[in-house]
């Protein structure tokens, strides 16, 4: 969930100010007083100077400055491709500085599939304007009209063979100006990089073992920090005798601040040993306040909530008569980011009182602000630098690792302190994707067409990012003067959060969506790939399948019947065609399913079709093959898009087949890979991705597009194979077996009448 460029109009900004923090570089009062400036593309509208985005030095070095960061999604490669094309410089010559709060434009959070729609146009415009300015300089120097000049890899050539490089042309003030917004972008025929699969430079480094992750940084004198987390979320540290631990070998400092307990040691192993000893020495007051994973759906239904009218479109009077009504109830459990590498950070407080934190945070600017406030330091004394971490699928513990390293760095000044969480800490303390309950109800006419569609969802928050507030940092809540966690909000349109993708893209005459937003959080939660979209699309695309069955219609035909959006129809048809939907033959134990969503209803389109085999004896589901069709607008890096769609699909299969955070009344029980298993190689099916390119259309975010459709396509295929509708995730063998034995119990929520 991003607080990036969500609002373009001033009115929208003021209206949204209550629930959003937008980082504007000019004070609000001034912004209101000033005349409206021309709207510049994407995030350039907030960072209007060319020098915010690009540096071109006399040496010829070209540096792209990016507020967006690499999370494994390949964004830096795509943005470099765009820069290379518009600036006419070879891809390999462009340097990147990304996510350094001292150097780059604040582009908000790298999240929400917003980087391509908002950062890419900014980079494109900056590069195009820089090229135009350099050509003007060349024209003046050479006494030739701009139209007669050509550029190749940063070298301008005039007729007659005179050449001048960008390095020779550039003046100190060339890029020190606001963008005009007028420099034309290149026509598509002249693109050399955009639209072609570009290998990612960072992957080569990773395959060769070069230092690239924050986990691999070893500054001289680095010490190792370990945090001793409480036994439960709300436990209080009653007493701890630190004297024994302080005398352990290698221990530099035991840090106790309220209920925050940590140790800094010379060696990693010593830090672990000391943390274990410290943990044994600590006495905690423990609470028992959690509903337990099996009772979570009931808890959601009954918890105090705020009602949000997400959509209220009554059906016009007249028309077809209602013939029958169907209802269903779906549940999505808490699920983890579960990155393979636990979160890490390195922080140093230097002699000048400057705190530098190397972090794999998605939100370096906002986390910096939260850390500064937590420590009572001036903002300008805190600098965050993004360094890559393991795969990031939303708000994980990266920001907390940064905050913890910062807490230890101020306790032990002058030394780089590394914090690397243990696997157990990562599993137990990350903010999960919220559990959700989604109830659906539809009234059909005599032909089975939808007249009224009604969806209600219950969810805890999907966004508790740092957002400049220390109370959103885990450890800040345990300090001697604890920072209270702010009450999380639910992001409104057009991105939404709990109700993300809760509005079906289908054309229903009556369409109502209500969100029961619950701010109490039995488990820590925050943005997890897709936010509410995964649960909502699972419910919508399962239910429309149920309606198709009720109408005696083919699930693909039934969807198309209700879908006017041509691009949605194209991905549905594209996935069906590649899957072989029309000539597929049913055989015993096998089933097929299809599902669709346009992420957030404003980002990438994706349809997924897949085939399963269900073993009725064991309840085991085997996914035999999967096909996705995706439309991400104008495609910059086709292989990058395929990788995201395919990766999201496989991750979603893992969520849907296996994943549920388990917990009792006291604590989370999913503490490692055996108690929280994920999909493995032998379970991953072949995946085909069909790309539908839309040259000239806006770039649409891709990274979260396949998550929702995949879960529903799987449940639909299992229904097709077994005749039993599964509405509670995950579809573990135990649950499937139980459903097959008592299909009525699984189907009990549907009423015909």
């Amino acid at each position: 969930m991003a607080s990036s460029p969500l609002s373009t109009s001033r009115r929208g900004f003021l209206k949204g100010a209550g629930s959003l923090t937008l980082s504007f570089s000019i004070p609000l009062a001034d912004a209101i007083a000033q005349a409206p400036a021309p709207v510049l593309p994407g995030n350039m509208n907030r960072h209007r100077r060319l020098s915010a985005w690009l540096r071109i030095e006399a040496s010829g070095t070209v540096t792209l400055l990016l507020g967006k960061v690499e999370l494994g999604q390949g964004i830096l490669t795509a943005l470099t491709q765009i820069c290379a094309d518009e600036l006419d410089v070879e891809f390999g010559r462009i340097q990147i500085i990304s996510g350094d709060t001292a150097l780059v434009p604040n582009e908000g959070v790298t999240a929400g599939s917003l980087s391509m729609p908002y950062s890419a146009p900014a980079v494109q415009q900056a590069a195009a304007e820089a090229r135009a300015l350099l050509l003007d300089l060349a024209a003046a120097r050479l006494g030739q009209p701009v139209a007669s000049l050509s550029v190749s890899d940063g070298v301008v050539s005039a007729p007659g063979g005179t050449k001048l490089s960008y390095g020779e042309l550039v003046q100190p003030d060339t890029l020190q100006r606001e963008a005009s917004g007028k420099a034309p972008r290149k026509p598509r025929e002249q693109h050399r990089y955009i639209g072609r699969s570009q290998p990612r430079p960072d992957l080569e480094a990773k395959f060769l073992g070069r230092s690239i992750f924050v986990h691999e940084k070893r500054p001289a004198g680095m010490l190792h920090g370990q945090i001793v987390r409480p036994p439960t979320y709300r436990a209080q540290l009653v007493a701890v005798d630190t004297s024994t631990v302080e005398r352990m070998p290698g221990v530099v400092r035991v840090v106790r601040r309220g209920s925050f307990l940590a140790v800094v040691a010379q060696r990693e192993r010593q830090a672990h040993d000391a943390a274990r000893a410290l943990s044994s020495a600590a006495r905690w007051e423990v609470d028992k306040a959690m509903p337990g994973h099996d009772r979570m759906a009931d808890w959601l239904r009954t918890a105090p909530s705020r009602l949000i009218d997400t959509r209220n479109q009554p059906r016009a009077a007249g028309g077809a008569e209602p013939a029958r009504t169907l209802t269903a109830s779906y549940y999505r459990p808490y699920q983890m980011h579960a990155s393979i590498g636990p979160s890490a950070a390195i922080a140093t407080l230097d002699a000048e009182g400057m705190l530098t934190v190397q972090t794999h945070s998605q939100s370096v600017f906002e986390t910096r602000e939260a850390i500064a406030k937590m420590l009572g330091m001036p903002l300008e004394k805190v600098r965050l630098q993004h360094v890559q971490g393991a795969g990031c699928y939303g708000h994980n513990l990266a920001d907390d690792a940064a905050a913890d390293a910062a807490l230890l760095a101020v306790a032990v000044p002058g030394k780089p302190i590394r914090v690397l969480f243990t696997r157990e800490q990562e599993h137990l303390w990350e903010p999960y994707g919220s559990a959700m309950l989604v109830n659906t109800r539809a009234t059909l006419d005599a032909q089975g067409n939808v007249l009224d569609w009604d969806l209600q969802l219950w969810s805890t928050p999907h966004g508790t990012r740092p957002n400049g507030q220390p109370g959103n940092l885990l450890s800040a809540r345990y300090l001697e003067k604890p920072f209270a966690m702010p009450v999380p909000g639910n992001l409104g349109p057009p991105n939404y959060a709990a109700d993300r993708n809760a509005i079906a893209l289908y054309d229903f005459p009556g369409h109502r969506v209500r969100t029961h937003f619950i701010t109490e959080m039995p488990l820590r939660v925050s943005s997890t790939r897709g936010l509410g979209a995964y649960g909502n699309v699972f419910a919508i695309e399962s239910f429309i399948d149920e309606l198709a069955v009720a109408a005696g219609a083919d699930p693909l035909e039934y969807r198309l019947r209700h879908m006017k959006d041509e691009r949605a129809r194209d991905v549905l048809n594209g996935a069906a065609r590649r899957f072989g939907w029309s000539n597929w033959r049913k055989s015993a134990g096998r089933g097929r399913g299809i599902a669709f969503a346009r992420y957030k209803n404003i980002a990438g389109y994706c349809a997924v079709a897949l085939e399963v085999e269900v073993d009725r004896a064991s309840g085991h589901i085997r996914v035999l093959r999967a096909v996705a069709a995706a439309d991400s607008g104008h495609i910059v890096n086709p292989d990058g898009v395929v990788n995201q769609i395919e990766g999201g699909l496989i991750q979603s299969l893992s969520w849907t087949l296996k994943e549920e955070v388990r917990f009792d009344d006291t604590k989370v029980l999913s503490s490692d890979w055996s108690s929280y298993p994920i999909l493995t190689f032998s379970e991953v099916p072949p995946v085909e991705v069909v790309l539908i390119d839309r040259p000239g259309a806006p770039y649409l975010g891709t990274g979260e597009a396949s998550q929702g459709p995949t879960g529903a396509a799987l449940a639909n295929a299992v229904f097709d194979a077994t005749g039993v509708r599964f509405r509670r995730l995950p579809l573990t063998p135990e649950r499937v077996l139980a459903g097959l034995k008592a299909p009525r119990a699984e189907s009990a929520h549907v009423t015909h009448g």
Partner: protein
């Protein structure tokens, strides 16, 4: 004090004998090609080769490699040039975040040394204990098969 060969060179580790091999490699020998993932031999991101066999370095004690030969990701490339398997990973862009890649490549290297022409199913079986969260599985399998084909 434990002596062993690391990527062909004799080394001496001053780390305590009961340190894990992973801790010694990453902290004392500046190895990047073995990653801490779980500390419980559940995910495979710390995989290295010990005398050619894949070993989870996060649970193997340093003392277990005394006098033996340890190969990490860094040991596969020759003077900065990617090995055939590494090149195949590059060609297939066989990762998203790349955190699990080091372990994947080492596990696959062990497979290819034992079985130079594995089938798709054999690759999946060999890598089944190595976890990938980004969903790059099929790319990784293709990379291993590509490297095998080029053998």
């Amino acid at each position: 004090m434990i002596e062993f060969r690391l990527n062909g060179r004799p080394v001496r580790s001053t780390a305590p004998d009961d340190d894990t091999l992973l801790s010694a490699l990453t902290n004392d020998h500046e190895v990047n090609g073995a990653k801490y993932g779980c500390g419980r031999a559940q995910c495979g991101s710390c995989t290295v080769l010990v005398d050619g066999n894949p070993v989870r370095s996060c649970t193997a004690p340093l003392s277990s490699v005394g006098g033996r030969s340890v190969t990490t990701l860094e040991g596969l490339s020759q003077s900065g040039r990617p090995s055939r398997l590494q090149q195949a990973f590059i060609d297939e862009q066989a990762a998203q975040c790349g955190y699990c890649s080091a372990g994947m490549i080492m596990q696959a290297q062990a497979l290819l040394e034992r079985n130079p022409r594995p089938t798709d199913a054999e690759v999946r079986a060999a890598l089944d204990g190595n976890l990938c969260r980004c969903g790059a599985h099929n790319r990784i399998v293709r990379a291993v098969l590509r490297a095998a084909k080029g053998a």
